[in-house]
Each structure stands twice: as C-alpha cells, then as structure tokens.
C-alpha cells in the first residue's frame, strides 16, 4: 500500500513539474515573440498613463478655464485646450482610464458569463438548443445597433455602458466556450472521472472548464479591444458615457465640431486611441500565439 501511494505521489510530482515546465516554455515563447512584447509595452504605457492621470492632474478632467479656450499645443498645454479651456492631455489621460476600465470590466464579465453559459450548453444537450438559439438571435443584431438600443433603454452612464457591452458580447464568448466544451467532453479522461462517480458540477467546472480556457481567453482579449472601440462609437453618437466625462468617444465627438479651427482636438486623442486599441490587439495576438498556437 505504501508503495502504491508513494508511486502515486511521485507521478503527481512529475506531472506537476511537467505543467510548470510547459508554462515556463510558454512564458519564454511569449517574451521571444517580438510583436507580443511590443503589444505588452504599448498596453503597459497606456495603463501607466491611466494610473498617473489623477496624480498628474489632481484637479480632474472636468474643471473649466474659459480664459484659456482653444489654445494650440504649447509647453504649458502639450495637446492644447478645448472650447472650455480644458487641457486635452489631461482629458485624454482620464479618457484612457475610462476606456481601459470599461474594456477590462466588459472582458471580465463576458468571460465569466460566457464561460458558464457555454459550458452548460456544451455539456447538456437539452440546454444547448435553448442557449445557443438565444445567442444566435442576439448575435443577428449588429453590435452597434444592439448597443445603441440597449443604451437608450438603460440610460447613459458608465455602469450601463458596461452592462450593454456585456450583453452584446456574452453570446460571442458563450459560442466559443460551447464549441470548446463539445470537444473536451468527448475526451477519455472525462469518461474516467465520470466512471469514478464524479457529479456533473465537478466534471464540468473542475475538469472540463480548465481545458476549455485557451480559446475563451483569446476571445476575451479580443473583446477587451472591441469593447473599447464600441464604447467609443457609442459615446461618439451620444449614446454612451454622458458628456462632461472624458471617454475617448466623447473627446473625439467634441473635437469633430471644431475640426475646422482646432486640429489638435482631433489629432492627439486620435493617435492615443489608435495606440491604445492597437496595443491590446497586438498583445491579444501574442497571447493567442502562445496559448493557442493551432488557431494561427
């Protein structure tokens, strides 16, 4: 008996070591991937800007200074000022903060909800039809239309933007998680666990879920970036974050009115917005290459 349990112990150790080795290789290959590294650096830069916003500009992004309206970029206002004399660098940094928070919150919520729905749909065939048909019905509405309609139903504020975006993107995650579950549940080790008498909760969440993660994580990073874009589009149309708060969409929507006189209102926030989303997209591609090489 002692022998058996020792053996079991040692094979467990070996398996554990192998998993660690595998993780190390993955982390190494991530850092060897130049593009992924660029994405990571760009994203970190944006995160730093978002963290620094309240430290560099403790007065906040809303305070007006009408005496200094429409000032072109200068040493004092690097990105210039808008029609209320608000510093554009200040608003852009707070804008990054809002966009990142909304993107991250949406990605996290859709990840959790999509995982649960996808796992259930993939595992129980009687739920499959119900959940997937609802998801398909929701995905048949183009995301921007769904977003606008939901926002006008819920009312414009930051919390509702996250709710609306989560409703828009959860079906997308659920579909990926379901597809992944369908493959994993046919594997032999699941049969083995079931024959040991494990209940469905343990089988589904303890054993199937961890092995469906890769494609879902990739999808979630993707949603991080697209949620930022959709939020910007909603705010740009006036159906997102309400006006004085500086989301990237608000800043650019305001900039559009003065595009003929004050180019700096458009140019700098545009560049920042592109770098922000592109950084996350590159990072997402890098993560995909590392954890889910077959998809490339």
């Amino acid at each position: 008996m002692v022998n058996v349990s020792e053996k079991r112990e040692s094979s467990f150790e070996v398996a554990k070591a192998a998993i660690w080795e595998n993780r190390k290789i993955k982390i190494k290959s991530f850092f060897k991937n130049k593009m992924a590294l660029i994405g990571l650096i760009l994203t970190l830069l944006m995160v730093i800007a978002a963290i620094l916003a309240p430290i560099v500009f403790p007065e906040g992004p809303i305070e007006m200074d009408t005496a200094n309206a429409f000032k072109a970029p200068s040493g004092q206002h690097l990105f210039g000022t808008d029609e209320f004399g608000r510093d554009i660098l200040n608003r852009t940094m707070y804008g990054i903060r809002i966009s990142l928070l909304i993107g991250a919150a949406t990605a996290a919520i859709t990840f959790v909800l999509g995982m649960i729905l996808g796992l259930l749909a993939g595992y129980f065939s009687f739920l499959d039809n119900i959940i997937m048909r609802i998801c398909e019905g929701m995905m048949a509405i183009p995301s921007i239309l769904m977003g606008i309609a939901l926002m006008s139903a819920l009312g414009c504020n930051s919390k509702n933007v996250v709710i609306a975006l989560s409703i828009v993107y959860t079906p997308v995650v659920a579909r990926v998680a379901r597809a992944s579950t369908l493959t994993v549940k046919e594997m032999t080790y699941i049969e083995a666990i079931k024959s040991q008498g494990a209940g469905w909760v343990r089988v589904l969440f303890g054993h199937i879920a961890p092995n469906t993660l890769s494609p879902v994580i990739v999808q979630a990073t993707n949603i991080f970036a697209t949620a930022i874009i959709l939020e910007a589009a909603l705010s740009f149309l006036g159906a997102g974050i309400p006006a004085p708060l500086p989301s990237m969409g608000n800043i650019l929507s305001e900039a559009k009115q003065y595009v003929f006189n004050s180019w700096w209102l458009t140019l700098f926030p545009s560049i920042v917005m592109i770098v922000l989303v592109m950084g996350i997209n590159i990072l997402g591609d890098g993560i995909r290459d590392v954890i889910d090489p077959s998809s490339n």
Binding site: R133, I134, E136, G137, M138, A140, I141, P142, S143, I144, L145, M146, I148, A149, L150, S152, A153, L154, G155, L182, A225, I229, A232, A233, F236, L237, G238, A239, G249, L252, A255, K256, V259, F260, W263, T266, L267, S270, M273, I274, V277, M278, N281, I282, D285, N296
Partner: protein, 319 residues
C-alpha cells in the same frame, strides 16, 4: 442537399423568433413614455392616458408583441410617432443612400483586402506580409469614425478639396457632385473593412497553401501562377463567400456610425435619430429589417457553402 437547406431554414426561423423577442423587449424596457414624449411636457395626465390607450400602450405586453409580429409578417411595421409616415416608407426612403454607401465601401474593401491578403499569405513572414499585416492591425484597431475624422482633417481641412458632410442625389447636384460627397465616407468605410477582409483572406490562404496537394503541385514543377489560379482559387471559393457574409455585420455597424457622422440620410442615421427620440416603431422596424437582412445573407452564405464544398453538408450538422 435539400435536407441541409431545410435544416438551415429551420434554424433561421427559430433565430428570427428569438430576434423578434429580443428587439421587442429592448424597445419596451426603454425608459420614458412615448405618449408623453409626443405630446410634450405640458400635456395633462388625461391627454397622455388617452393617447396611450389609442396607441395600444396599455395592453399587456404579450398582446402588443403578437400584434406587432402579425403586422410585421404582412410587411406593416407600424406608424412612426414623429415622422407622420409609416415605418415601411421611412425605411424605403432611407435605404438608397445606405445601400450605395455599403456597396462602394465593400467594393473598395474587397479590391484592397483580397489581393493584399493573398500576397501576404504567399510571402508569409516577408516584408510584404509584415507591412500589410501591420496595416490590417491598424485598421482593426480604429473605430470607423476616427479614420473618418482623420480624413476630414486631411482632405477637408488641410487640403480643402473634398466636402466633409452631407449627401447630394444625382438628380439634384449631378454625378460629379454626388461622387464628391461620397468619397470620404466610402473610402473610410472601405479601408476599415479591408483590414478585416485582408486578415480573413490571409489566414485562409495560408491554410490552403500549406495543404499537401499544393506541395504535390509544387513538387511536380508547376508554375506558381498555375498553382495559384488552378489549385488555390478553386479551394478558396468558400472563403470568399464567407468573407462577404462575415464582413456584412461590420459593414452595417460602420454605415450606421458614418451616416450619422457625415450627415447622410440613410438607415443608420434614421436608427440613431429614432433612438434619441424614442420612436419605438421605427427602432423596432429598422433593427428588425437590418437584422433580417443579416440573417438572410448568412443563410445564403451557408447554403452556397453546401454547393461549393460538399463536405460541409455532412459535417456541419453539429452547428
């Protein structure tokens, strides 16, 4: 084949049923009373109540839903609250500019995206691939309105050679003016779309190029052009159809935003306007119409798949 098509159609019908419920629920949880909005804030409670009764807003939701679906099936989408016209005629009035915008944008996108995607796949890892993939990544990372703003800044403000907002019909302003107003929106949308198309084309061509039969063809000593046109393209048929189907969703999204931004009187602008005014019937009708279009296009894509690639008829059942 008949069974495959039937299967797809049944799926589509269930999808449409769910879709109608989703659209109906969204518009009905919208806060705000349309009767109050129509009459203005100084209307008396009795007046509002009377109008609500007249508009059927006091009926139970299920009755309202069934009435709406019944009428929608016969093509009657109701009357707009504010436009003094039926939703159907409002949609018909607005569909022209949207279709035109969508058509030219998609054409530009295909003409840029597919050749770039193919050449990137052929030269995987080389400069062409890296540069065009970077370009596509840039396009994917940009909301359409942002590229539009940049074009307004360059062509409208700095160079001053193109109009930056509005729409002029051929009858009103002549062909040249008509085109001049469409250039910036269509190029904006086309470039954004081409990024997605380039990425899909590239990845599927990379897959096809790594197939054994391509290696065989190469080993036989066939010329690259022969391989590309005779072997690769035949197998890329399904891909190109997929591209058309998949890009339609983002096309609609882009058109909705760009119409509002460039002040083009199309369906996108109609929807955004109606949402801001809480014009329920128009929102319901327009979103239903656009989604229906989307579902039908995807059905056509699925069905044509079955024709192009017989394997799908059998293996796609789990979907």
């Amino acid at each position: 084949m008949g069974r495959y098509i039937l299967n797809r159609i049944i799926t589509v019908i269930t999808t449409l049923f769910i879709l109608s419920i989703v659209i109906f629920s969204i518009t009905h949880i919208m806060s705000g009373d349309p009767a109050l909005a129509m009459l203005g804030s100084d209307a008396t409670t009795e007046q509002v109540e009377e109008l609500r009764q007249e508009m059927g807003l006091n009926d139970p939701l299920s009755t309202q839903y069934i009435k709406w679906v019944k009428n929608a099936v016969t093509g009657d989408l109701g009357e707009s609250y504010f436009r003094h016209q039926s939703v159907g005629s409002a949609l018909m009035e607005r569909i022209g500019p949207s279709l035109e915008l969508a058509f030219w944008s998609e054409l530009i996108a295909l003409l840029i995206g597919i050749p770039l995607g193919i050449s990137a796949a052929k030269k995987k890892g080389q400069t062409t691939d890296v540069v065009s993939s970077m370009g596509a990544l840039l396009g994917m990372s940009m909301p359409s309105f942002l590229l539009g703003l940049i074009f307004i800044l360059i062509f409208g403000v700095f160079l001053g050679i193109l109009p930056v907002s509005g729409f002029i019909t051929i009858a009103k302003g002549g062909l040249i003016n008509h085109i001049r107003y469409l250039v910036i929106p269509c190029v904006t949308m086309g470039l954004i779309q081409s990024a997605l198309i380039m990425r899909i084309t590239r990845s599927s061509f990379v897959e096809i190029l790594s197939m054994d039969y391509i290696k065989t063809a190469k080993a036989k000593g066939l010329k690259e052009k022969v391989i590309l046109y005779k072997h690769v393209f035949r197998n890329a048929g399904a891909t190109i159809v997929t591209i058309l189907g998949q890009s339609f969703g983002s096309l609609i999204a882009g058109v909705a935003v760009l119409e509002t931004m460039f002040n083009i009187p199309g369906m996108g602008q109609l929807i955004v306007d109606s949402v801001l005014k809480r014009d329920y019937p128009v929102i319901q009708g327009a979103v239903l119409f656009v989604s229906l279009l989307y579902v039908i296009i995807n059905l056509l894509v699925d069905v044509s798949y079955g024709f192009i690639d017989p394997r799908i008829r059998v293996t796609n059942k789990s979907k």
